[in-house]
Structures are given as structure tokens and as C-alpha cells.
Amino acid sequence: MKRKYILIDCFQDIPCNPCEEICPHKAIEVGSPITRTPRYYEERCDGCAKCVAVCPGLCIYLVEEEEGSDKMTITLPYEFLPLPRKGELASVLDYNGREVGQGIVKRVKNTKSENGTALISVEVSRAIGLAARNILIRKTDDSEPELVEGERESFTDFQICRCEEVLLSELRTLAKMGIVFAPNLRRFSRVGLGLCQGKACSELMFSELSNITGMTVGELGHPKARPPVRPIKLRELFG
């Protein structure tokens, strides 16, 4: 007896239901509100794998197993290049991305209806079958990080405003002198007066000010905007 069913790794309440909508046999139900996790009715499912291809979370897997066989086939969603070829041996990864064994690629489906999510069917041993979640995409540089001593204590200064190149220490010195009112601090330090119109550094300045004064960013007063929103060169204005 052949059995086909899906596994769904979707455990969190998120606003999503394409799996429910695409299933031709109402075998998946999300219902209302749309944030409910999907429920699956195996008896209605015919194993068409439409849900595997549509799921934005890439978290539905189709399992095919046959009574008496020590093998099973897992169909998984795959969005990388190169695509594996039929007959190829693939390293099979589990939920944590760890290699758990090898499998033979039985089918590769990547037509328009999958919309870029290829369906890869891999034949694996029953022992690892239900754990299979991915195949290795390519050998990457996974060199281990190196332990660095004596880094934590040292303070390295850095710029808080990219355009005007104002250092954090300079901002702090001004603040210690009592200049904690944002418009004044801006005038003295030039933070936020650069070409980008303070898009990045104003936020950093307010965050630092909130550290110094103990006030929340919301209490410190809102940012200012000056026209134009992006610098316009004079030669553009006067053509």
C-alpha cells in the first residue's frame, strides 16, 4: 500500500493562508482569523504537492512511502542554483541544517506553476526520512570564527555622523558640557547637518541623548525636516 502525506513545519500564528487556498481537496484548513496555524486532514489529501510549491514559508514537505519498503521519498521546496539532476546523489540535511545522510534525486520539477520554487524529490532511507528538510546547496566557506583576547575592555571611538564625520566622543563631550537640547547639540556638533539631511545620524544622536539624559526618545522631541529632502545642486536649480 502506498501512502502519501504532508508534513507542515508551521507552528506560529502568522497572517498566512495560501496553503489552504491552493489545496484542491480542502485537506488544509487555516480558517479565520487568518493567523491560525494550518490543520491537515490526511484522508482528503491526494499528494499533489501544490501546497509544497506555494507555501511562502517553504515549510511543507510531501512524504511518499510504501509498506514493506525501507525507503521513502521526500519532496522538498528548493530555491537555489544549480538545481540537482535526476539520479544524482545529494547530501540530506535535517531541521537544523545538519547532514544526516545521502539520498538519490528522483524528480526535479520546476515549471511555471511552481513559480520559482523547484520541487525536488529525494529517495532516502526510512531511518532519516521524516527528518529530511533540505539538501546541501553547495560547499561553502564555513571556517570557524577565531577567539580574540582582550577586546572587551578597550573603547574604540567611532563616527556617529557619516557625512560630517563627528565622533561619538565629541558628541559625549558636548553633552557633558550641558548641551543636551537636540537643536543646540546639532548646531555645535554638526550631527545631522550633512548632505544626507541627518537621516541616519539624527536617530543615533537621539539614541545617545536618551542614554545620557535618561529620557526616552519620544520625550526628547521629534526630528526636524528642512527642504529639500535630498540635496539639490545649485546648477540643477538654475539649469
Binding site: 500564528d13 482569523p33 507555501c55 511562502p56 531541521y95 520559482g116 529639500p228 539649469g239
Partner: protein
């Protein structure tokens, strides 16, 4: 040299999902909107998104972000909505006129009603070495790889585990890069579980309770030093790129210039434009929609765009109040359902970045 002043009934600033839906709603009420966008293509954030979106069929769920964007642009073309690309709204004056710059000229626009849908801007995170070439916003990396088709780096560290950080990390792997690590100061992953799992199933590590100590390099980034905040140990990861994804804040400069009131809301990204249920701001005939009124999702931005479009048309006298009321009720109902989740602690890039310091 002379400045011409064109007059329009409705100007929409920003051709993201919010702006396009606002324009589509407006044409359906026989209004002739003008859409401005500084980008060379319409679609806003959607253009860069190659992943499939959540949501319901109503908002194009299951389709990829850029496909949803293209469809919206096509619909606008069908309805003959005028979209002016490469057109920056450089200023929005108190008298209601808008200064526009395109590659050829600078001109003034006068509009009876204005919908601002300028989206959001990425928050920065500063640390020693953050000014080195190779350190970039996650949005910048996305533009580079998904729009311009150039690989940002071969081995990249991602800072932030909100949805943006998770999604962009995954997209970097799709483009051919590898991810050295994802760094998160909090003790839990901020983004959705399914986005996290896509990376987990590739064996990519998310370092919780970790922070960036500094970036190293001479003329560009060569490594990032990361501290395990529990043990105090510091590790060096060799990378040639660092992407920052520590939240977004609404791009409120135009409404500010115009004089719209703001309000501070941590959950929605900081300073947002104050607005009522129907997207009206404190200034008459000025409306907001999408991320500029609070950073949320594309599906919400679309619904807000529709609401703003309806409100503008009501105020322009193009729809009867009763008819508008019925349409609004449906939209508000959908918004309520979409937001049913926001009380829960998932998928939040915003709060995490506020609670932590933006500097080290």
C-alpha cells in the same frame, strides 16, 4: 528660466503598494491622480523582494513581492494612472505646493489633495568600523543584488534577526553568497519562525545575545568581531560584507515640512504621522498611507492606501459619504484581521532596535 505651476486634484507621493493602491482607488471614483516616485520603477519595496509573501489571496499571498508590485503597476497602466518616475518630491511647503525634481527640470505642483506614501527608511547601527566600505544597509544589499544583479559580497554577516534580516540573509544565499552568522542582541529570534527555519535548514547560525564589537579592515571590511554577551568572549568572523537590519523608521520629512503632527510609537518604528482611522492627517487634505504611517506589512500598506484614496475622494466631493462608509467598513474589517497578530510578539523588527542602543 521660469517655474511653471501645474495644478492637480490629487497627487500621490510614492509608488509603493500604498501609493499605487491609493491611486487605483481614486481612479475608480473618477478622480485623475498623479503619482510621483523618485525611483526609476514603480513598486517601492516590493521591487526588491524575491520571496513569496504571506497574507491572503486578497493581497497576493503566495506570489513573490516583485510580482505583486508589477501587477499593481500594470493595473495602474490599464486604468491610465499617470505615474511620473525619477521624480523626487523634494519639498512639501506649508501652502500645499510640492517641489518636484526630475532629471530634466525642477517644478512646482499645486494639488487640492495629497496622499503621502513615502514608506520607511532603515535605521542605522553604529560601531567602530561601520563606515568601512562593505558595511551596508540590508536594503542596499537587496537593491544591489535583486535589482542591479551584482553580488554584495561572498561571505556576509547580518546584523539583526527581524524579518528583514532573515529574509535578506536568505536572499543573499540565493544570489550566491554565504552567511557567516546572523547577530542578534536579544535572547530570541525577532522574525517569523518560518523565515528563521529557512536559514536553519541551511545550517546558518543565529547568534543570540551577541553584539557587534567592531568591523575590521583597511580599505574595506575584512572581518567582524562579535561578542557573546553571556560569556564575554569575542570572536572574529572573516567576512567581506556586513549588512545592517535593525529596523525601519517612517520617512516623515515631507509631512513634517508640511506641518503634519507626528506621534511617537515604538511598535510602529518611532515617529509616525498622526492620522485618524481614515488616514487623514492633522493638515486638511493631506493623507498618509503605508509604512510612513507606521512600519507594518505590504498587505496593510495596500489597505491603508485604499482608505486614503477614499478619504481624498470624499473630501474632493467625488463620492457620497454613505457609499464611502460601506467601502471603508470592509477595509477596516480586513485590517483588523491582518493586525490580529500584532498584539503578539512575533515578526517585530521595530521594538528590538529601539530597546537596544543604536550605538555600542
Amino acid at each position: 528660466m521660469s517655474y511653471t505651476c501645474e495644478e492637480r486634484d490629487l497627487v500621490v507621493i510614492g509608488a509603493g503598494p500604498a501609493g499605487l493602491c491609493a491611486a487605483l482607488e481614486a481612479v475608480s471614483h473618477k478622480c485623475d491622480p498623479l503619482v510621483l516616485d523618485e525611483n526609476h520603477r514603480g513598486g517601492g519595496q516590493l521591487l526588491k523582494q524575491v520571496h513569496k509573501f504571506f497574507g491572503s489571496h486578497h493581497h497576493g499571498a503566495g506570489k513573490r513581492g516583485f510580482q505583486i508590485g508589477e501587477e499593481l503597476v500594470e493595473k495602474c497602466e490599464e486604468k491610465q494612472v499617470e505615474i511620473r518616475l525619477n521624480s523626487l518630491a523634494a519639498a512639501f511647503f506649508q501652502d500645499g505646493s510640492i517641489l518636484v525634481r526630475d532629471p530634466k527640470k525642477i517644478y512646482l505642483l499645486k494639488s487640492k489633495a495629497t496622499i503621502i506614501a513615502t514608506g520607511a527608511v532603515e535605521k542605522p547601527l553604529a560601531f567602530p568600523g561601520w563606515t568601512l566600505p562593505g558595511v551596508m544597509g540590508a536594503g542596499g544589499a537587496q537593491t544591489l543584488m535583486n535589482v542591479h544583479r551584482v553580488l554584495p559580497g561572498r561571505r556576509i554577516a547580518m546584523v539583526g534577526s527581524g524579518n528583514v534580516g532573515l529574509i535578506v540573509a536568505y536572499q543573499l544565499v540565493q544570489a550566491g553568497a554565504s552567511i557567516a552568522c546572523i547577530i542578534e542582541v536579544d535572547d530570541k529570534v525577532k522574525g517569523y519562525q518560518v523565515h528563521r527555519d529557512k536559514l536553519r535548514k541551511l545550517g546558518i547560525k543565529i547568534l543570540l545575545r551577541h553584539r557587534v564589537v567592531r568591523a575590521e579592515g583597511d580599505d574595506c571590511v575584512r572581518a567582524v568581531l562579535v561578542e557573546d554577551m553571556q560569556t564575554g568572549r569575542v570572536f572574529r568572523y572573516k567576512v567581506d560584507g556586513i549588512c545592517l537590519a535593525v529596523g525601519m523608521s517612517p520617512l516623515v520629512e515631507l509631512p513634517l515640512m508640511r506641518g503634519c503632527e507626528l506621534e511617537y510609537n515604538l511598535r510602529l518604528g518611532g515617529w509616525v504621522v498622526r492620522h485618524d482611522e481614515n488616514m487623514r492627517t492633522s493638515c486638511p487634505n493631506v493623507y498618509v498611507a503605508g509604512d510612513v504611517s507606521g512600519v507594518e506589512e505590504a498587505s496593510i500598506a495596500m489597505e491603508e492606501g485604499r482608505l486614503a484614496g477614499i478619504s481624498a475622494c470624499v473630501d474632493l466631493g467625488l463620492i457620497a459619504k454613505g457609499k464611502a462608509q460601506n467601502k471603508r467598513k470592509e477595509i477596516l474589517e480586513r485590517l483588523r484581521e491582518l493586525r490580529a497578530i500584532s498584539g503578539k510578539e512575533v515578526g517585530e523588527d521595530q521594538r528590538s532596535s529601539e530597546e537596544r542602543n543604536l550605538t555600542v
